[in-house]
Protein backbone atom coordinates (compact mmCIF):
# COMPACT_ATOMS: atom_id res chain seq x y z
CA UNK A 1 0.00 0.00 0.00
CA UNK A 2 1.38 3.43 -0.94
CA UNK A 3 1.71 6.44 1.30
CA UNK A 4 -0.93 9.15 1.50
CA UNK A 5 -0.77 11.57 -1.46
CA UNK A 6 -0.14 14.48 0.91
CA UNK A 7 2.90 12.79 2.44
CA UNK A 8 6.01 14.87 1.54
CA UNK A 9 7.85 11.86 0.13
CA UNK A 10 4.90 10.93 -2.09
CA UNK A 11 4.52 14.52 -3.16
CA UNK A 12 8.22 14.88 -4.04
CA UNK A 13 8.17 11.62 -5.95
CA UNK A 14 5.02 12.66 -7.81
CA UNK A 15 6.38 16.09 -8.73
CA UNK A 16 9.63 14.51 -9.88
CA UNK A 17 7.62 12.13 -12.04
CA UNK A 18 5.67 15.03 -13.57
CA UNK A 19 8.95 16.82 -14.35
CA UNK A 20 10.56 13.74 -15.87
CA UNK A 21 7.51 12.85 -17.95
CA UNK A 22 7.20 16.44 -19.19
CA UNK A 23 10.87 16.51 -20.19
CA UNK A 24 10.52 13.10 -21.84
CA UNK A 25 7.44 14.25 -23.78
CA UNK A 26 9.24 17.40 -24.92
CA UNK A 27 12.34 15.48 -25.98
CA UNK A 28 10.35 12.76 -27.69
CA UNK A 29 8.19 15.42 -29.34
CA UNK A 30 11.21 17.23 -30.73
CA UNK A 31 12.69 13.94 -31.92
CA UNK A 32 9.37 12.94 -33.43
CA UNK A 33 9.16 16.22 -35.35
CA UNK A 34 12.50 15.40 -36.99
CA UNK A 35 11.55 11.75 -37.54
CA UNK A 36 8.06 12.48 -38.89
CA UNK A 37 9.47 15.21 -41.11
CA UNK A 38 11.72 12.57 -42.61
CA UNK A 39 8.83 10.14 -42.98
CA UNK A 40 6.67 12.84 -44.56
CA UNK A 41 9.49 13.60 -46.97
CA UNK A 42 9.34 10.06 -48.28
CA UNK A 43 5.54 9.83 -48.54
CA UNK A 44 4.20 13.23 -49.63
CA UNK A 45 3.42 13.11 -53.36
CA UNK A 46 5.88 14.83 -55.63
CA UNK A 47 8.74 15.19 -53.16
CA UNK A 48 12.40 14.53 -53.64
CA UNK A 49 12.24 10.75 -53.37
CA UNK A 50 9.83 10.63 -56.26
CA UNK A 51 7.88 7.58 -55.14
CA UNK A 52 4.51 9.27 -55.11
CA UNK A 53 5.52 11.81 -57.72
CA UNK A 54 5.75 9.12 -60.33
CA UNK A 55 2.35 7.79 -59.26
CA UNK A 56 0.78 11.23 -59.68
CA UNK A 57 2.47 11.79 -62.98
CA UNK A 58 1.33 8.48 -64.37
CA UNK A 59 -2.20 8.61 -62.97
CA UNK A 60 -3.15 12.06 -64.17
CA UNK A 61 -2.47 11.70 -67.91
CA UNK A 62 -4.12 8.26 -67.99
CA UNK A 63 -7.33 9.52 -66.47
CA UNK A 64 -7.35 12.63 -68.60
CA UNK A 65 -6.54 10.80 -71.79
CA UNK A 66 -9.05 8.00 -71.37
CA UNK A 67 -11.96 10.14 -70.25
CA UNK A 68 -11.67 13.26 -72.33
CA UNK A 69 -9.57 12.37 -75.33
CA UNK A 70 -12.54 12.25 -77.64
CA UNK A 71 -14.05 15.46 -76.28
CA UNK A 72 -11.21 17.89 -75.66
CA UNK A 73 -7.93 16.25 -76.49
CA UNK A 74 -5.99 19.44 -77.12
CA UNK A 75 -7.25 21.37 -74.12
CA UNK A 76 -6.93 18.81 -71.34
CA UNK A 77 -3.57 17.24 -72.09
CA UNK A 78 -1.45 20.42 -72.03
CA UNK A 79 -3.10 21.55 -68.77
CA UNK A 80 -2.12 18.33 -67.06
CA UNK A 81 1.45 18.65 -68.28
CA UNK A 82 1.73 22.24 -67.09
CA UNK A 83 0.32 21.39 -63.65
CA UNK A 84 2.70 18.48 -63.12
CA UNK A 85 5.67 20.56 -64.16
CA UNK A 86 4.76 23.41 -61.85
CA UNK A 87 4.48 21.08 -58.84
CA UNK A 88 7.72 19.37 -59.68
CA UNK A 89 9.54 22.71 -59.73
CA UNK A 90 8.11 23.98 -56.44
CA UNK A 91 8.51 20.77 -54.51
CA UNK A 92 5.54 18.60 -55.31
CA UNK A 93 1.81 18.42 -54.72
CA UNK A 94 1.08 18.74 -51.03
Amino acid sequence: MGQHPDHPATRDRGLRRVRHLTLAATGLGAGAVVLLSGVAATTIPGTSTGTAASATASATPTAEASSSASLQPAASAPQATTSTTAHAVTGGSR
Binding site: A25, A32, L36, V39, T43, P45, G92, R94
Partner: protein, 196 residues
Amino acid sequence: LSTTWLWYATRGAGVVSLVLLTAVVVLGVLTVARFETAGWPRFVTQGLHRNLALTSVAFLGLHVVTAVVDPFTNLGWVAAVVPFSSYYRTFWLGLGTVSMELLGAVLITSLLRPWLGHWTWRIVHWLAYASWPMAVLHTIGTGTDAWSLWLLPINAVCAVAVLTAVLYRVRIPNPDPLAAARSSFRAASGGLREAG
Protein backbone atom coordinates in the same frame (compact mmCIF):
# COMPACT_ATOMS: atom_id res chain seq x y z
CA LEU B 1 18.56 24.67 -50.55
CA SER B 2 14.90 23.79 -51.05
CA THR B 3 12.24 25.15 -48.72
CA THR B 4 10.35 21.83 -48.69
CA TRP B 5 11.84 21.14 -45.25
CA LEU B 6 9.42 23.77 -43.95
CA TRP B 7 6.53 21.65 -45.14
CA TYR B 8 7.98 18.52 -43.60
CA ALA B 9 8.50 20.37 -40.32
CA THR B 10 4.89 21.58 -40.51
CA ARG B 11 3.67 18.01 -40.87
CA GLY B 12 5.94 16.71 -38.12
CA ALA B 13 5.12 19.48 -35.64
CA GLY B 14 1.42 19.21 -36.45
CA VAL B 15 1.33 15.48 -35.76
CA VAL B 16 3.34 15.82 -32.54
CA SER B 17 1.02 18.62 -31.48
CA LEU B 18 -2.02 16.42 -32.15
CA VAL B 19 -0.54 13.52 -30.17
CA LEU B 20 0.25 15.83 -27.25
CA LEU B 21 -3.21 17.42 -27.44
CA THR B 22 -4.70 13.93 -27.32
CA ALA B 23 -2.64 13.15 -24.22
CA VAL B 24 -3.78 16.44 -22.67
CA VAL B 25 -7.45 15.63 -23.35
CA VAL B 26 -7.07 12.11 -21.96
CA LEU B 27 -5.32 13.41 -18.83
CA GLY B 28 -8.00 16.09 -18.46
CA VAL B 29 -10.75 13.48 -18.62
CA LEU B 30 -8.87 11.32 -16.11
CA THR B 31 -8.54 14.37 -13.82
CA VAL B 32 -12.30 14.91 -13.90
CA ALA B 33 -12.83 11.19 -13.31
CA ARG B 34 -10.51 11.46 -10.28
CA PHE B 35 -8.41 8.60 -11.54
CA GLU B 36 -5.62 7.51 -9.22
CA THR B 37 -3.65 4.46 -8.22
CA ALA B 38 -1.25 3.78 -5.36
CA GLY B 39 1.72 4.88 -7.43
CA TRP B 40 -0.08 7.57 -9.43
CA PRO B 41 -1.71 10.22 -7.23
CA ARG B 42 -4.23 12.63 -8.76
CA PHE B 43 -1.87 15.62 -8.65
CA VAL B 44 0.48 13.79 -11.05
CA THR B 45 -2.35 13.59 -13.61
CA GLN B 46 -3.16 17.26 -13.09
CA GLY B 47 0.47 18.40 -13.28
CA LEU B 48 1.13 16.38 -16.40
CA HIS B 49 -2.11 17.66 -17.95
CA ARG B 50 -0.99 21.23 -17.38
CA ASN B 51 2.63 20.76 -18.53
CA LEU B 52 1.75 18.78 -21.65
CA ALA B 53 -0.84 21.41 -22.58
CA LEU B 54 1.92 24.05 -22.61
CA THR B 55 4.26 21.70 -24.51
CA SER B 56 1.51 21.01 -27.03
CA VAL B 57 1.02 24.75 -27.57
CA ALA B 58 4.77 25.14 -28.21
CA PHE B 59 4.65 22.48 -30.95
CA LEU B 60 1.44 24.01 -32.29
CA GLY B 61 3.29 27.33 -32.55
CA LEU B 62 6.06 25.61 -34.54
CA HIS B 63 3.39 24.00 -36.76
CA VAL B 64 1.72 27.33 -37.48
CA VAL B 65 4.92 29.33 -38.01
CA THR B 66 6.45 26.81 -40.42
CA ALA B 67 3.15 26.59 -42.33
CA VAL B 68 2.84 30.36 -42.65
CA VAL B 69 6.41 31.02 -43.75
CA ASP B 70 6.38 28.12 -46.23
CA PRO B 71 6.41 29.78 -49.67
CA PHE B 72 4.63 26.82 -51.33
CA THR B 73 1.26 27.50 -49.70
CA ASN B 74 1.87 31.22 -49.15
CA LEU B 75 -0.80 31.27 -46.45
CA GLY B 76 -0.03 34.56 -44.76
CA TRP B 77 -0.65 35.41 -41.12
CA VAL B 78 -4.29 36.40 -41.67
CA ALA B 79 -5.18 32.83 -42.68
CA ALA B 80 -3.51 31.58 -39.50
CA VAL B 81 -5.72 33.83 -37.37
CA VAL B 82 -8.99 34.32 -39.26
CA PRO B 83 -10.78 31.00 -39.78
CA PHE B 84 -11.79 29.97 -43.31
CA SER B 85 -9.99 32.93 -44.90
CA SER B 86 -7.28 30.89 -46.61
CA TYR B 87 -7.46 30.27 -50.34
CA TYR B 88 -5.57 27.00 -49.74
CA ARG B 89 -7.90 24.15 -48.62
CA THR B 90 -10.17 26.74 -47.03
CA PHE B 91 -12.41 24.43 -45.00
CA TRP B 92 -9.81 22.02 -43.63
CA LEU B 93 -7.33 24.75 -42.82
CA GLY B 94 -10.13 26.76 -41.22
CA LEU B 95 -10.87 23.85 -38.88
CA GLY B 96 -7.25 23.96 -37.76
CA THR B 97 -7.49 27.69 -37.12
CA VAL B 98 -10.70 27.29 -35.09
CA SER B 99 -9.16 24.43 -33.13
CA MET B 100 -6.09 26.53 -32.36
CA GLU B 101 -8.19 29.47 -31.21
CA LEU B 102 -10.38 27.30 -28.97
CA LEU B 103 -7.20 25.90 -27.46
CA GLY B 104 -5.93 29.46 -27.02
CA ALA B 105 -9.12 30.37 -25.15
CA VAL B 106 -8.72 27.33 -22.91
CA LEU B 107 -5.07 28.18 -22.25
CA ILE B 108 -5.66 31.87 -21.51
CA THR B 109 -8.59 31.21 -19.18
CA SER B 110 -6.52 28.57 -17.40
CA LEU B 111 -3.70 31.04 -16.85
CA LEU B 112 -6.24 33.62 -15.62
CA ARG B 113 -8.14 31.10 -13.52
CA PRO B 114 -7.47 32.82 -10.17
CA TRP B 115 -9.23 35.93 -11.51
CA LEU B 116 -12.11 34.10 -13.19
CA GLY B 117 -14.95 32.30 -11.52
CA HIS B 118 -14.75 28.52 -11.39
CA TRP B 119 -17.74 28.09 -13.69
CA THR B 120 -16.46 30.56 -16.28
CA TRP B 121 -13.17 28.70 -16.39
CA ARG B 122 -14.94 25.35 -16.53
CA ILE B 123 -17.34 26.31 -19.32
CA VAL B 124 -14.47 27.64 -21.46
CA HIS B 125 -12.47 24.51 -20.60
CA TRP B 126 -15.20 22.37 -22.16
CA LEU B 127 -14.19 23.95 -25.49
CA ALA B 128 -11.29 21.49 -25.46
CA TYR B 129 -13.85 18.81 -26.37
CA ALA B 130 -14.55 20.80 -29.56
CA SER B 131 -10.93 21.70 -30.22
CA TRP B 132 -9.64 18.14 -30.30
CA PRO B 133 -11.99 16.66 -32.98
CA MET B 134 -11.42 19.75 -35.12
CA ALA B 135 -7.68 19.17 -34.88
CA VAL B 136 -8.19 15.55 -35.94
CA LEU B 137 -10.37 16.56 -38.91
CA HIS B 138 -7.83 19.24 -39.85
CA THR B 139 -5.11 16.56 -39.84
CA ILE B 140 -7.18 14.23 -42.00
CA GLY B 141 -8.39 16.88 -44.43
CA THR B 142 -5.42 19.16 -44.95
CA GLY B 143 -2.54 16.84 -45.69
CA THR B 144 -2.18 14.66 -48.75
CA ASP B 145 -0.68 11.93 -46.59
CA ALA B 146 -3.58 11.64 -44.11
CA TRP B 147 -4.34 8.09 -45.26
CA SER B 148 -0.72 7.01 -45.46
CA LEU B 149 0.52 4.05 -43.45
CA TRP B 150 2.32 6.21 -40.92
CA LEU B 151 -0.33 8.85 -40.22
CA LEU B 152 -3.46 6.70 -40.28
CA PRO B 153 -2.45 4.59 -37.25
CA ILE B 154 -1.48 7.76 -35.33
CA ASN B 155 -4.91 9.28 -35.97
CA ALA B 156 -6.59 5.99 -35.06
CA VAL B 157 -4.66 5.64 -31.78
CA CYS B 158 -5.51 9.26 -30.86
CA ALA B 159 -9.21 8.68 -31.55
CA VAL B 160 -9.30 5.41 -29.61
CA ALA B 161 -7.45 6.98 -26.66
CA VAL B 162 -9.88 9.90 -26.32
CA LEU B 163 -12.98 7.75 -26.87
CA THR B 164 -11.78 5.24 -24.26
CA ALA B 165 -11.11 8.02 -21.74
CA VAL B 166 -14.52 9.61 -22.36
CA LEU B 167 -16.29 6.25 -22.07
CA TYR B 168 -14.40 5.57 -18.82
CA ARG B 169 -15.54 8.95 -17.52
CA VAL B 170 -19.15 8.43 -18.58
CA ARG B 171 -19.33 4.98 -17.01
CA ILE B 172 -18.28 6.28 -13.60
CA PRO B 173 -21.53 7.26 -11.88
CA ASN B 174 -20.09 9.96 -9.65
CA PRO B 175 -16.33 10.40 -9.54
CA ASP B 176 -16.49 12.79 -6.60
CA PRO B 177 -17.69 10.94 -3.48
CA LEU B 178 -18.09 14.24 -1.63
CA ALA B 179 -20.00 16.05 -4.40
CA ALA B 180 -23.32 16.06 -2.52
CA ALA B 181 -21.70 17.22 0.72
CA ARG B 182 -19.76 19.91 -1.13
CA SER B 183 -22.80 21.31 -2.93
CA SER B 184 -24.90 21.38 0.24
CA PHE B 185 -22.02 23.13 2.05
CA ARG B 186 -21.76 25.70 -0.76
CA ALA B 187 -25.52 26.26 -0.68
CA ALA B 188 -25.48 26.66 3.08
CA SER B 189 -22.47 29.00 3.11
CA GLY B 190 -24.01 31.02 0.28
CA GLY B 191 -27.22 31.30 2.25
CA LEU B 192 -25.30 32.41 5.32
CA ARG B 193 -23.41 35.03 3.26
CA GLU B 194 -26.67 36.38 1.88
CA ALA B 195 -28.22 36.43 5.35
CA GLY B 196 -25.15 38.18 6.78
